[in-house]
């Protein structure tokens, strides 16, 4: 006997994500799901961002890592609440893992909550966690054809940061190709070229962040 089911496979995740989203709404948190390959510069971006928004916007971070608490320690140095979720063998954070971190954060005291996902270009894009935007980092050491190989993440992201542009001269990475490939997959994606090492492009990134926070909260900054 055949029975009709017609159910989204990830509906259990999506339901929890929606609960998270409602809580973030209540607390006026802008929430970003930050994704990239391992080592593209997610934690570095958070460190550089913390320096630049100090006294203007209050950050909070949830970071998923397979084994260690190193990333949370790095971010914690900037006096930013950072919760580490050790994911074990999981290759992504899902809505339930993020929900489990929320009681440990004072969301009332956070303007922008960044979820640093596990380094991986495939799996994290599948699971929403309650974010306002997915954003991603592509570093120039990875190759400019990545958008065509991993289309879902590029399709779902509102912003692509091209990081490590200080290393461009040592690679065959073409900024033009990378932009064209990403825009092919997602014509609406914003693109900012940055270097977390020499600071290039970071002002533009902070402007993007500030604008999104203003959009969400109507400009109600704190601090």
């Amino acid at each position: 006997m055949k029975i009709n089911v017609m159910q989204d496979v990830l509906q259990a995740n999506d339901r929890i994500a929606e609960e998270n989203r409602q809580l973030f709404e209540e607390k006026h948190n802008l929430v970003l799901n930050l994704m990239s390959s391992p080592g593209a510069g997610k934690t570095s971006l958070l460190e550089r961002t913390a320096e630049r928004v100090a006294g203007k916007l209050r950050l909070g971070v949830i970071v998923g890592d397979i084994e260690t608490t190193r990333d949370a320690d790095r971010i914690g140095k900037f006096n930013i609440p950072a919760i580490q979720l050790t994911t074990g063998t999981a290759c992504h954070l899902d809505a339930n893992m993020v929900a489990s971190a929320l009681p440990h954060l004072k969301l009332d005291n956070i303007d922008i909550l960044v979820v640093e996902n596990v380094g991986n270009l495939v799996c994290p894009a599948e699971f929403i966690v309650g974010e306002d935007y997915k954003i991603m980092i592509l570093s120039v050491t990875e190759g400019d054809e990545k958008p065509l190989k991993y289309p879902l993440m590029f399709r779902e992201s509102a912003l692509m940061l091209i990081n490590k542009i200080d290393l461009l001269q040592y690679t065959n990475f073409s900024l033009k190709e990378a932009r064209a490939n990403a825009l092919k997959i997602n014509p609406d994606i914003d693109i900012i070229e940055i270097s977390c090492t020499n600071g290039a492009g970071l002002d533009e990134w902070v402007s993007w962040l500030t604008a999104k926070h203003r959009d969400k909260t109507g400009g109600a900054g704190h601090a």
Binding site: M1, K2, I3, N4, V5, M6, Q7, D8, V9, L10, Q11, A12, N13, T89, A90, C91, H92, D94, V122, C123, E126, F127, L148, Y150, P151, L152, R155, K184, I185, N186, P187
Partner: protein, 113 residues
């Protein structure tokens, strides 16, 4: 390997649907997977075999229908398939395109005994 998590979700949904019908066995699950979801059928089948082993879905055939990416043009109101991630309307050249297929991941139906 997000296939493991997805396999577990498939199993949960199938078991709950079968449970409502008082089924003693699930023989087949028909899954619809959009091309953009990047599901690797072999991996998913393998993971599903592992998680379903000791349930009434053990040995069930997981049928995966892959759905190609398709779009709808807001400009000229036409539908078309999208090849090689070319998000451009083949009729009028517009890039204002809504995806209408290729991102789904759902269980269509199951077969039970």
């Amino acid at each position: 390997m997000h296939e493991m998590g997805i396999a577990q979700n498939i199993l949960d949904i199938a078991l709950s649907a079968a449970g409502k019908e008082g089924a003693s066995k699930i023989t087949r699950i028909n899954l619809v997977a959009g091309e953009l979801r990047g599901i690797v059928p072999l991996q998913l089948t393998f993971c599903f075999g592992l998680v379903s082993k000791d349930t009434i879905a053990g040995g069930a055939y997981l049928n995966i229908d892959e759905v190609p990416v398709s779009g709808h043009c807001d400009g000229c109101n036409s539908d078309f398939s999208i090849k090689e991630y070319e998000y451009v309307c083949p009729k009028c050249g517009s890039t204002k395109i809504q995806l209408i297929g290729g991102t789904e991941l759902s269980i269509k139906d199951i077969e039970i005994e």
